[in-house]
Point group: C2
Chain length 181, copies 2
DNA sequence: CGCGGCGTTGACGATGGTCAATTTTCGTGG
DNA sequence: CCACGAAAATTGACCATCGTCAACGCCGCG
């Protein structure tokens, strides 16, 4: 019914299997718009990960605007396309990357989206695990091994604040796709 | 530059990692339109899996038509949305399902898309594996175990022609997502 | 014929999952 | 403010699923 824009905080959207296994499709951070992806039926469940403020937009009014204004309609299309791109990249990660590669890719993604070297990850290890198709123990171990390798540091007393020491070396852990042939 | 519609045959579109690991994002069968997903740069490589005939559409002319005709533009949006839905479901499969569950889900998807009980899979075991995030050996073993369980039968020595004996029982191997809470 | 591609199957091993113990953090209420 | 309990995170030991490596069969094609 609505489309949302995160003002601040973080939101996860996910799917469940009947026995409770969860796959988080995306995290939505400050500025992100979500809820867009739906046709009519909602296909994802969205929950706040931390205290979050979001702006509400009536889907209906958006569709009206899109119907009349080609620019709005174009922006809508390009936002959905971005979602699709993200999903495509994430399929590659889920289908073909190892645990450390996934965690490295995740850190690079978050780093890229938040801007600063010092990141504060709003989500728990379990959330990260369900995003990456791993268990939280494996995520924890991967982070520890990256810390031991010296590419990142946990900042005082809060293992959610992470400092990237060497982005280049971190990127070496994540084999990005080459130019497609 | 172009958008394609498969007349008959089958196409795979995939991404690669630098060391050659491959993730197939989708198979395009007769009737399917693909190449749509792109912004400007192509993000997937597409190859025919078997002898294939496809229709070409100039992207430019499609965009022109979409800009002037709201119906075309709407159809375009809903096709991309379908792609996105598929990618979302596939993330759940890749992140959270076991080998047999993946293969069962794949068979159900193909069955659903081709219509008949008797399916002929145009792609090799390796293609299936790269679609499901597995190895071809694991795919082969999963198929064998489903055959031993009696839910399917190989119809030819080629093992590409498959007969589904019991769709219900096959579906039991694939834990679909419940109504999202 | 023999060779190469595809598929199946077995033996073995590694990556990541499971289970459990421990520590730190944090929220709540005395 | 401190104490307590719950939640989050780390770490270790063990194990299962799936990947790796290898052998083999079956066809099609030169």
């Amino acid at each position: 019914m609505y489309v949302y824009q995160v003002k601040h905080g973080a939101v996860r959207s996910y799917k469940l299997l009947s026995d409770g296994r969860r796959q988080i499709g995306a995290f939505h951070l400050a500025g992100d718009i979500f809820g867009l992806e739906n046709g009519d039926k909602h296909r994802f469940t969205a929950e706040a990960v931390v205290e979050t403020v979001a702006r509400l937009i009536k889907r209906e009014s958006l569709q009206l605007a899109a119907a009349r204004d080609a620019v709005v309609s174009h922006n809508l299309l390009s936002m959905i396309t971005r979602n699709l791109e993200h999903a495509e990249d994430h399929m590659l990660l889920l289908g073909r990357k190892t645990a450390v590669e996934r965690v490295a890719a995740f850190l690079l993604e978050m780093d890229c989206r938040t801007g600063a070297d010092k990141m504060s990850l709003p989500m728990t290890r379990l959330d990260i695990a369900d995003y990456l198709g791993l268990t939280f123990e494996t995520v924890s171990r991967a982070l520890s091994s990256l810390r031991k390798a010296g590419v990142l540091t946990f900042l005082d007393h809060d293992q959610r604040e992470i400092m990237l020491n060497d982005r280049r070396r971190l990127a070496d852990f994540d084999p990005q796709g080459p130019a497609q042939p």
